[in-house]
Symmetry: C2
Subunit: 183 residues, 2 copies
Amino acid sequence: MKINVLRLDHRQKRDARITTHVCLTARAFGADGVILNGDEDTKLMENVKDVAKRWGGQFKVDYKKNYENLIDEWKNNGGEVVHLTMYGSQVHEVVSDIRKSPKDKLVVVGGSRVPTKVYKEADWNVSVTSQPHSEVSSLAVFLHMLFEGKELDKEFEGGKMKVIPTAEGKRVIINDNEEEKIE
Amino acid sequence: MKINVLRLDHRQKRDARITTHVCLTARAFGADGVILNGDEDTKLMENVKDVAKRWGGQFKVDYKKNYENLIDEWKNNGGEVVHLTMYGSQVHEVVSDIRKSPKDKLVVVGGSRVPTKVYKEADWNVSVTSQPHSEVSSLAVFLHMLFEGKELDKEFEGGKMKVIPTAEGKRVIINDNEEEKIE
């Protein structure tokens, strides 16, 4: 099952850091790529691509001006749409159905205002708690539950940087041949 | 077990939205309160308190100029410290030990640069993936794993607003007596 994340209505000035966190969260928690909608923010996209290159894996970063065409195309190609919203069905009620369906998933995150069309087009509107918090945390916990924690062991091949988990300090392998204790 | 979140080194100009998301994530995923360190950002604190009041529960928002004193005091009062860092022990390896210890927990999130002292003072340095992403997603997934998903059913008493999860559209109860379908 391929998982892409669609970030609706990015505003370059206001959202740069949050959208960057959405992109990096998508990558770290096992999505295959992110598609940005709203302002075309080439600097942000280059930053995320640069992280993805240095830290490995095959994460893709794209831009689509028209999200409606993208959703239609995704569904016409046999994919399904999951829209994360605090108003949706509870994640723990629906995540196993979402996982059972082997079709590719487009996971949609807002956006200050999400058009009604997105609620209607989505195969699932899903809430990760029904409280106001963050599209970053919704996406992280949704992917964590979808992958049942397996994303925590995901290997990111081909990166220049790799952390060796350690109880204290920082251990990073650079270039796969030189290990250094930074701190 | 009481859970407080300490947000290190908040910078008012640069971090306002990310820190707001950290605070709201702490609340939505079941922490008892957040303590901000760095710039004293009264506007941000009022915003978070306002959300907490409208949406219910007992979430507390505080500020501490000196995080070192806070950590010392927390430990002297019998509490433990969990520092979330991409360099730490893997969350799925240590979370059950953290859960088993009934002592109150201070969950520390950076901060652009976290002083070595925090790594040393922490009872656990914990990584939620060893990839670069977001303190917001680390905090959300850590709390979700600590509470074993029970936070998803947490009730927030006394709020003015309450969402009724629904497969399509938005249903919100306002004032506990008037239900309206917004969209």
